[in-house]
């Protein structure tokens, strides 16, 4: 049984101007220890998807259909107090902006101790502090800094602290939403290395949400490409690299500069990202696709190319 099983999840934002399907019929299957990359540009719905996994979709968003099963249990059916037990313990979320996610008036030691003792009430303070020190060691931060406050750390270190807080309770699943966007490229590489090291050490599953396909290809086992709220391609990273099937994925691969190549010919995807309030009929990528056919005006089904490769495109069937 997979650790995380998302089945046809749909999340809608009910706005005054209309309803926006931020996540439309998305399914995920993730096993323990796997790293999944969710790749998408602005408006793709990837952040909403991430937040729905811990049931923290900001209002006016609501889940309208589908299921999210963690170890077989549908978390959408849980009451809030049951969800509170899960968050941090079984699922952890690392937010994008480390600047505002830490409490400025609490030392980082206090952050860790509070987290640990909330979920393990019998834990003595001294033991909690000891555990915190061990975590800091894994993060590469000196144990003496336990009493320092967030503003005394740099952006990269704060992000690592956030990650540390995320894994402190040894969760089964960690979701990181653009964990490296605000960081410089060297710190970014170190942070991603850290995530991988933690995965190797603790065996958790990792969901990496990013707009950077290169990061996903380098670091993830499987990749899910999202466009305008829909899952358009889902397969092993190697397949995305070697045989991208969906025209959007192909377009992405052709448009990103590769620093190892010289004299690259880059090709942009024509057109603009869709207005989520005014989606095109049928396939949402239709207006920008070079392979468009009459079929494409119908709702596109998810086709299975092999047991691990799925594409939402009429080119492959339907």
């Amino acid at each position: 049984m997979p650790l995380l099983d998302v089945a046809s999840l749909t999340v809608v934002y009910r706005a005054k101007r209309g309803n926006v399907k931020a996540v439309d019929d998305v399914s995920i299957s993730l096993n323990k220890g796997e790293i999944l990359g969710i790749v998408g540009e602005s408006g793709s719905g990837k952040s909403t998807l991430g937040l729905s996994l811990i049931r923290q979709i900001p209002p006016p968003g609501v889940v309208v259909s589908g299921a999210i099963r963690l170890d077989g249990r549908n978390i959408l059916n849980l009451k809030e107090h049951e969800m509170l037990l899960l968050r941090g313990r079984k699922i952890a979320f690392v937010f994008q902006d480390p600047m505002t996610s830490l409490n400025p008036v609490k030392s980082i030691g206090a952050h860790f101790v509070e987290l640990l003792r909330t979920h393990e009430p019998n834990l003595k303070e001294a033991d909690a502090i000891q555990r915190a020190k061990e975590i800091l060691k894994v993060l590469g931060i000196s144990a003496e800094r336990l009493s320092d406050y967030p503003h005394q750390f740099s952006g990269g270190m704060r992000q690592r602290i956030m990650i540390g807080l995320g894994v402190a309770l040894n969760p089964d699943l960690v979701i990181a939403d653009e964990p490296t966007t605000a960081l410089d490229v060297i710190v970014q590489a170190k942070t991603l290395d850290l995530l991988k090291r933690l995965r190797d050490a603790y065996g958790m599953a990792l969901v990496l949400i990013t707009h950077d396909l290169s990061i996903a290809l380098e670091r993830c086992d499987k990749i899910m490409v999202m466009y305008a709220g829909q899952l358009v391609e889902y397969t092993r990273s190697k397949d995305i690299q070697d045989t991208p099937r969906h025209p959007y994925t192909q377009g992405l691969m052709r448009s990103i500069p590769n620093i190892e190549l010289t004299d690259q010919r880059l090709v942009a995807i024509p057109g603009n990202p869709p207005d989520l309030l005014n989606l095109p009929m049928g396939c949402r990528f239709n207006p920008r696709c070079s392979y468009t056919m009459i079929h494409c005006l119908d709702n596109t089904p998810l086709i299975s190319i092999d047991e691990q490769h799925f594409v939402r495109c009429f080119l492959y069937g339907g």
């Binding site: 706005a15 005054k16 931020a22």
Partner: protein, 292 residues
């Protein structure tokens, strides 16, 4: 100049017509508008719709309660309260309009120039404005009005002086933000003269806030004008005026003649409320909460 006109009109008309669709904030604004427009019309049309001459005294009908012939009763001089209601808003509205115009003419340029220029002039001006702002408004207005003497313009002047710092502050905070935005930098990098940057890039984006402050200014001006009249610094006693009626009505209250003070008082409150609603509604509309 053309651009300023363009931007104000360009936003006002579509803005007004879209009000009903904008939810509760839109309705608040509409209600406010309706109240204000009704009262203004009533005042403008007073010569034609007023049932009697508001200044005509009549010894025979002193302080009679609401009844036939005098729907809202009469005051201590036998004057018809209802007619005085129609006529009485005139002074107050004039004062409010003049004071807002003065504030706009003085407060806006000072606010724009000072905050855009920055440096010592800005520091000095801010200090001056903060000092005025620190005074309790009505007290300061009374002090100035007492010095200047009676008259619509003098009243408006004293109110304007009290209110200009509010305009200054609002504009300043807006300008300081906008100054840092790329489009202002872009204008500077194009070689636009300072005057152009302020008039075409900063002012049009500050207009919404100015509109909000102006409407609240109106409301405040009404109340302050009433206050000034109440303490005896109003315009001449001969002209029908709600503020003056408050004074008279107060004197009559102990004898049980509640109608003399109540109706003018209600009108003042209503007018101020109308402006306040417009201001609140516009404030909501122009600074909408970001939706997902």
């Amino acid at each position: 100049m053309k651009r300023i006109r363009q931007s104000i009109l360009g936003q006002l008309v579509p803005g007004l017509s879209s009000l009903p669709r904008r939810g509760s904030a839109g309705w608040i604004t509409i209600i406010g508008f309706v109240i204000v427009v009704t009262i203004v019309l009533m005042t403008l049309l007073a010569p034609w719709i007023s049932p009697r001459d508001p200044s005509r005294t009549d010894d025979r009908v002193i302080a009679i309660p609401p009844s036939q012939g005098f729907p809202l009763g009469t005051n201590h001089l036998g004057q018809d309260v209802l007619s005085r209601l129609f006529w009485g808003g005139s002074i107050m509205l004039q004062v409010a309009v003049v004071s807002v115009l003065l504030c706009l003419a003085v407060g806006v340029p000072i606010g724009l120039l000072s905050s855009y220029a920055g440096g010592i002039p800005d520091k000095v001006t801010s200090l001056l404005m903060d000092s005025i702002y620190a005074f309790p408004g009505l007290v300061l207005a009374i002090a100035i009005a007492a010095t200047l003497g009676r008259g619509v313009v003098n009243m408006a002047l004293s109110i304007a002086v009290v209110y200009i710092p509010s305009y200054f502050r609002v504009i300043r905070s807006q300008v300081l933000t906008i100054k840092e935005l790329s489009y202002t930098e872009a204008a500077e990098s194009m070689g636009a003269k300072r005057r152009t940057v302020i008039s075409s890039y900063i002012l049009p984006n500050v207009v919404p806030s100015i509109v909000v402050v102006a409407t609240v200014n109106f409301a405040d001006a009404i109340l302050t004008a009433a206050g000034l009249t109440f303490v005896g610094l109003g315009v001449s006693y001969d002209i029908p005026d709600w503020g003056y009626d408050l004074v008279n009505g107060r004197a009559l209250l102990p004898s049980g003649a509640w109608w003399v003070i109540t109706f003018p008082g209600l009108m003042i409150v209503l007018l101020a409320l109308g402006f306040t609603l417009i201001g609140e509604g516009l404030s909501e509309l122009l600074n909408p909460r970001l939706e997902q």
